[in-house]
């Protein structure tokens, strides 16, 4: 089974520029998560999708961050404009459908390391 795919793996941009990250979850996984992981901290949930609907985006800075999951499969996360404090690893994860034995287990991608200068 193919894992969660993310691209790009690394990105360096200047502040005030925009950037987009892409995630393709494991086939059949209904739940998709985007996390921000700042160095020395644990992953912080930005947004959670169930199929193509948002179930939690309470920690997403909506003035600059946006995310979509068209057709309930792959997803993009965008930052516009970027700030220095956005430098972090952005992780995508997916989980099997609710009701399956492993429905709350998360499978993570390799992450995108963003550096804002």
């Amino acid at each position: 089974e193919a894992g969660v795919a993310q691209s790009p793996r690394y990105k360096i941009i200047e502040k005030r520029q925009s950037v987009a990250f892409w995630c393709n979850p494991i086939s059949g996984h209904a739940t998709l998560y985007w996390y921000q992981q700042i160095l020395g901290q644990g992953p912080k949930l930005l947004i959670q999708f169930q199929n193509n609907g948002v179930v939690d985006d309470s920690q997403l800075p909506k003035d600059r961050f946006s995310a979509e999951r068209l057709k309930g499969v792959d997803s993009t996360l965008k930052i516009q404009p970027a700030k220095l404090e956005d430098s972090a690893v952005y992780l995508c994860a997916s989980s099997p459908p609710r009701g399956s034995p492993s429905s709350y287990e998360q499978y993570f991608g390799p992450g995108t390391r963003l550096t804002v200068t």
């Binding site: 939690d56 429905s103 709350y104 993570f108 992450g111």
Partner: protein
């Protein structure tokens, strides 16, 4: 809102030593509890989980964790660590009534000296 606290930021052990990493969470309702591990250069991956039933759960590579509801704790243990256990370990809690929202601790870096 739920929160997770991992007490040790960095643990250094010699091979064959015993390991216990602390994890406490704050939430009064039903939770699922997880330990994830990130080996150097690899993705975060599931180590073990607690959903219900026996509070002592076993995971991969000889790890186990005990859920103590009265203490809101889910500590990770291994009787004898190996050099290959060097990694970062994250405790996480998922709340069913909050759309399955997960909260992670800040992680513990384990270094095992050969």
């Amino acid at each position: 809102a739920q929160s997770v606290s991992q007490h040790n930021h960095h643990v250094i052990l010699s091979e064959a030593a015993s390991l216990e990493l602390g994890c406490n969470y704050s939430y009064g309702g039903t939770v699922n509890l997880f330990w994830y591990v990130q080996y150097p250069g690899q993705h975060l991956q599931l180590l073990l989980k607690y959903f219900s039933g026996d509070p002592l759960v076993k995971g991969i590579k000889g790890f186990e964790a005990e859920f103590i509801k009265s203490k809101f704790s889910f500590n990770l243990r291994k009787p004898s660590v190996q050099w290959s256990d060097t990694a970062e370990y994250f405790c996480a809690v998922t709340v069913h009534t909050n759309a399955g929202k997960s909260t992670f601790g800040d992680g513990t870096t384990l270094t095992v000296k050969p």
